[in-house]
Amino acid sequence: MKPLDFITGEIVGILLFFIGLYGLMTKKTIVKTIMSMSIMESGIFLFYITINYTVGSVPPIGQAQEAAFVDPVPSALMITAIVIGIGVTAIGLTMFMHYKQKHGITHWSRNRDQTGSDH
């Protein structure tokens, strides 16, 4: 077994997921939060599309029977998930831009604004 065999899609996917999680846990900037979220999602996508993949298999298109077919379900799921991911990132960025332009805040603040509750 070559040392590089450890670096499969699944393991890299899991690593990316936890790198993203680390970013979310430690960074206070909202933009960095959004970036970490994207990293986390990319990790999941990579994990999915390499599930049960064997070298040399072919896409399930046409009638060719020489090699094993790749399971098409994860790829189909990931197309949906990627679209959702883009939408979510876009909405997150929109919220952030709106918030920054109106109130000039770019960080998660320490505490809830208590003045808001009395009005």
């Binding site: 430690t26 939060t33 049960n52 959702i84 979510v88 909405i91 918030y99 809830r112 509750s117």
Partner: protein
């Protein structure tokens, strides 16, 4: 389900009075249809719809068993009341109607879907919709709270997606029922520990249990969100988390049994929920923290491993939806009238807004579990799930806490009216509140019949024991009043506890920690 979203689009396009009327007619018809399906399920057992003519288990399918259809029915009926309440409010414009109806459609999807990936999609969509509804007024605090809600929940659902991926890797299946069958064929249960942990993080986040509830008061109690949104979130939407908890645990039940762990999680959630609620002075935040506390109670009931407690918890889901919606709706009317949300400044509700006060009283009696009200029946059922003395004491502690902080809430009802005369309230909003309030009384009186009707589960309330509980309740009220005058009024420590909360990074760290705890606990147990 799709029809609801379509209806929202139609309301968005028409933009006039006709659309509104159509909306009501449609909602009533929809509730009627839900009743029809409900009776069908009751007679013939679970119904399954498969798409595309594939065999069951492989196809994307909708699945309606007695709990699922009960949740659907509850949502459809309560939405009628919410729509009536919102009729004359300024924010009830086409854009709002569209999002509001979409949320209903997505909730139905969550309840009925039997496919894990579809559940993920519905969760993402509902997160977006709810976040936008929270910041509908575009106030600073609302946007901040909405953003926290949005990011935390998106990250939470990412956990779910990852968990689904791992399950798919093991089983090659996505259907909940099919996976449950395949689960018993597993050689070693260790293969599902990680996915279980991942999925439980998401579900626990959605149900807002102990370390992960910090987003809930922000989202449900944010000052400027429309009251009807808070009512939906707290009354109905949060229940989708509990429902998923039931579903997922049922799916993993052949291999994994975690009810002891989640029983204690439920207890601590309840405890922390009411302690935090005691420290609040904003009426909406008090109610939001009480949602946390009641969810904890429901979790305790579900995880008692006894049938009567389980159905009691499901019945409590229904009851909590009634009285918490009523409380949020009336709270909306109260702070509009008084112009403040501070519980210490609102006085003389009975003189100023008598009908609102009546509805609030009914709901308070319901939530504290007064005899003859609905809360008492479901709490009675939950308490019956155990013969262990210790657990009974735990339940009583929670009840005492609830009573204590609602004594504080009830001080609003009495006292002197700051202004002379009665306030004019909107007729539609008022009638919705009063009907819901009275419902909490009737669902209590007919509790036995209703559980029989909804779940085919017979309960017999023992009269002697019930009277005994009634006495305990009176004692609790007395203790509650005493506590209120002795401790809570003077604030101090409790107020400081009430204001402690996690930052965004804290919430995420709690999530990661929770994941590790679940996984380690499971590995040790198996």
């Amino acid at each position: 389900m799709l029809a609801l979203i379509l209806m929202g689009v139609i309301a968005l396009l028409l933009r006039n009075r006709l659309a509104k009327l159509l909306l009501y007619v449609f909602q009533v018809l929809y509730a009627g249809f839900a009743f029809y399906v409900f009776f069908q399920v009751k007679e013939t057992g679970p119904i399954i719809w498969n798409t595309g003519g594939y065999t069951d288990g492989l196809a994307l399918s909708l699945y309606a068993d007695s709990i699922a259809i009960f949740m659907v029915l509850m949502t459809a009926v309560f939405y009628i009341a919410f729509l009536v309440y919102a009729t004359r409010e300024d924010y009830f414009e086409p854009r709002f109607q569209f999002l509001f109806m979409t949320l209903q459609g997505v909730m139905m999807g969550l309840f009925l879907s039997s496919d894990l990936f579809n559940i993920f999609v519905f969760l993402e969509v509902s997160t977006v919709v709810v976040a936008i509804l929270i910041m509908f007024n575009k106030e600073k605090q609302a946007i901040y709270d909405g953003m926290i809600y949005f990011f935390v929940n998106v990250i939470g659902t990412a956990f779910l997606l990852f968990g689904i991926g791992m399950l798919y890797r093991t089983f090659g299946l996505l259907d909940i029922r099919a996976i449950k069958e395949a689960m018993s064929l597993l050689e070693s249960p260790h293969a599902v520990v990680l996915p279980y942990g991942m999925m439980m993080v998401t579900v626990s986040l959605k149900t807002a249990v102990t370390p992960l509830f910090s987003w809930l008061p922000k989202a449900h109690g944010t000052p400027s969100a429309p009251p009807v949104v808070s009512a939906v979130l707290s009354g109905l939407y949060i229940k989708s988390g509990v429902y998923m908890f039931i579903r997922f645990n049922d799916m993993f039940s052949p291999v994994i049994d975690m009810h002891v762990f989640f029983f204690w999680i439920g207890f601590f959630t309840s405890l922390i929920g009411f302690i935090m609620a005691l420290g609040q002075k904003d009426i909406k935040l008090i109610l939001a923290y009480h949602t946390v506390s009641q969810i904890g109670l429901i979790m305790m009931g579900i995880n008692m491993a006894s049938e009567i407690a389980f159905w009691g918890a499901v019945y409590h889901i229904f009851n909590h939806a009634i009285f918490k919606s009523t409380l949020f709706l009336t709270a909306g009317m109260i702070y509009e009238e008084y112009g403040t949300r501070n519980v210490y400044q609102i006085r003389g509700l009975f003189k100023r807004m008598p009908w609102v006060a009546v509805a609030t009283t009914f709901a308070i009696l319901g939530i504290t579990g007064a005899p003859f009200f609905n809360g008492s029946i479901s709490k009675y059922m939950i308490a019956h799930g155990t013969y262990d003395y210790g657990v009974t004491i735990l339940l009583n502690i929670i009840n005492l806490g609830t009573t204590m902080s609602f004594v504080k809430y009830a001080t609003m009802l009495f006292g002197n009216n700051p202004k002379e005369g009665r306030a004019k309230s909107d007729f539609f909003a008022l009638s919705a509140c009063v009907v819901m309030g009275i419902a909490s009384f009737f669902t209590g009186i007919f509790g036995e019949g209703l559980t029989q009707f909804f779940f085919n589960y017979e309960v017999h309330v023992n009269v002697d024991e019930y009277i005994q509980k009634g006495m305990v309740y009176v004692l609790m009220i007395v203790a509650g009043v005493a506590f209120y005058h002795g401790i809570i009024k003077h604030g101090g420590l409790i107020t400081r506890i009430g204001h402690a909360e996690l930052t965004f990074n804290g919430i995420i760290t709690a999530m990661a920690g929770y994941f590790i705890v679940v996984v380690v606990y499971l590995s040790l147990m198996l």
